[in-house]
Subunit: 365 residues, 2 copies
């Protein structure tokens, strides 16, 4: 059973789907691992480390011509072209509804395990790349804010007087939001947080932040622990009630995403205008239209004296750890997909396990 | 008594010598304050705030044609040209030994208070800009390291496994070093620190870091709490003994400066080669030749897989708080320089106070 790990080719992508540590485990389990030359270099994993772990270095064609392809980012047509017909693909598809690449994959007889379809069960948690990568995004968002904010995050008491701690507001208390709260608290900021799901209140408090309570007349708790979309009326109430809290913030980290929908507007232009000159907004929803309408995806812009960070790939800024977590997620997944056979690992029936069944995208679906 | 605050014109400088808060106090004490249009904008202080504080906006010529000029960075010939003859200058001179600008200043009859000559006494501490700005540099250096390091600084326990905390080594436990230690500790890193002055050991421990003990055969404690230069023999012993500790580090922040000397080499090329791929060195001595010979002043370079940050003006990256501290330092200094008179503040005899006497650079000296 041959596993391939290609170099990710999306602009700005620095991660790699597996690391030398994990490759060593896979080889130990009887897999043959082929890695494209230079695939891990940007993440801090040199080719020599993969070789030492038992992988074989190869050109691009060799890394794609495998039984099981491990990818981070969505493949393009050229990637599909290079795949071995009838193989297995594990990676993010990054698609909602109509998708040009999926028919190409299926036409080639590929069986696709789409990582964004991972069920949100406790058994699946150790394989959930959305969760592991969001965690990293939440950490890195606060580091980015600290690097772009013209003041200290912590309170500073010096002989030249003291500086008050920054007031940080985190919108959305999912995995990314909770890690953003934790990181901003570590740095000594005064942290406030808001989420439409009332059950997040206790988690916010447990991290030392103050929950912002708004009365919307309805709950935003949706299926599977995700947020659902609010009614228009509730959205308007939410914006108005949030505005005063947000205008007082010096750093805002927004993480409000609804799967396969445009991100909700939580930070209006009016709020940006009211914020203090030099404040920073890190909009983790930039790729989905942004939680602030002034955010520009993949850019850092200044509007009304406020810096808006619209970077869309924060995990790629922490590529060593992001790849390590991603690789371990995939290792955990692979371990439930295969059983030990005499001639090496044998693929189990993917439709028989609720995790792989949920992720599997087949021609019929 | 007219005070002038010009726009700083050095490339990359974003600070301003006074802030609206401090201007308000100066105006309250009877000073007339003139500020160059846009002087505070890059630091997050709009012109309107200075006007509201009682300052008068002016062009460059007006901000220089004053009794008392408040500057951040060393003036150039054009600045001296614009100064009112016989005026007072407060600012950094940034010069050692021979200096072309000082004769120009003195030829114009300026009395110069050089902020780097501030005595290191407890009474002077609230006026010490070297200290307040070093504090900021130490904080910002660690934020920069976190933003350039491809992994987490804190330990992370996730369902995809855990990431160990980064191993951070801080060289030099002066004001910058101690703040770097504190910030790295806040972020959850495992912090080690080294200083030639044995008396810093307790401060290092009190911040939760581990002191690195080396036997050099002599102490590096110099006059006034600064470090002195070691003998060549002791330097060689220091490098060798440090090398093993440094090679294990993932982030190094170096702060070893000796006034008016080339910075000592503490991180050799051999150490950089031994460090893990993706590690980061922030060299706060970059402007004085660097504590690492591979550092390039004002640049961020990669050598042997390690990122070397050679930025030379970290306070300018936190311009709002840096300017606020600087402005308060200057306010505290001005308060000992003047006494209340019937027609406004009256300059006292600068040679009569040990602080101003130490700072004063006069034609005779």
């Amino acid at each position: 059973m041959k596993i391939g790990i290609p170099l990710e080719t999306r602009p700005g992508e620095t991660r790699v789907a597996s690391t030398p540590d994990v490759v060593k485990k896979l080889v130990g389990q009887g897999f043959e691992v082929v890695i494209e030359t230079g695939a891990g270099v940007r993440a801090g994993y040199p080719d020599a480390d993969y070789e030492a772990a038992g992988a074989r270095l190869s050109d691009r064609a060799g890394a794609y011509d495998v039984d099981l392809l491990l990818k981070v980012r969505r493949p393009d047509e050229a990637d599909v072209e290079a795949m071995r017909a009838g193989g297995l693909y594990i990676g993010l598809l990054e698609s909602c509804g109509e998708d040009a690449i999926l028919p190409s994959l299926l036409a080639k007889g590929m069986r696709v395990l789409a990582l964004e379809r991972m069920p949100r069960t406790s058994r699946a948690q150790s394989m959930d790349v959305l969760s592991s990568q969001s965690n990293i995004a939440g950490y890195r968002a606060v580091i980015e804010a600290a690097a772009r904010y013209g003041r200290f995050l912590p309170m500073m008491m010096t002989s030249a007087g003291s500086a008050k701690p920054a007031r940080v507001v985190v919108l959305g208390a999912g995995v990314a939001g909770l890690q953003a709260i934790a990181t901003a608290r570590r740095l000594g900021a005064d942290v406030y947080a808001y989420d439409v799901r009332p059950e997040t209140r206790e988690q916010i408090l447990s991290l030392g932040a103050k929950p912002i309570d708004l009365d919307l007349g309805e709950s935003g708790a949706g299926e599977g622990g995700y947020a659902k979309e609010l009614s228009d009326e509730a959205k308007a109430r939410q914006q108005a009630a949030l505005a005063d809290e947000l205008a007082k913030a010096h750093v805002i980290v927004t993480t409000a995403l609804i799967p396969c929908r445009r991100a909700p507007v939580l930070v209006t232009e009016d709020v940006v205008q009211r914020m203090r000159h030099g404040s920073v907004i890190v909009d983790l929803a930039a790729a989905s239209g942004g939680n602030c309408p002034l955010t520009v995806a993949d850019e850092i812009v200044e509007r009304h004296g406020v810096t808006l960070v619209g970077l869309t790939n924060f995990p790629a800024l922490v590529p060593a750890d992001a790849s390590a977590f991603y690789a371990r997620n995939l290792l955990n997944l692979i371990e439930i997909m295969f059983e030990r056979g005499e001639s090496g690992p044998q693929l189990k029936d993917l439709s028989a396990d609720d995790i792989t069944a949920a992720m599997l995208v087949q021609a019929a679906s």
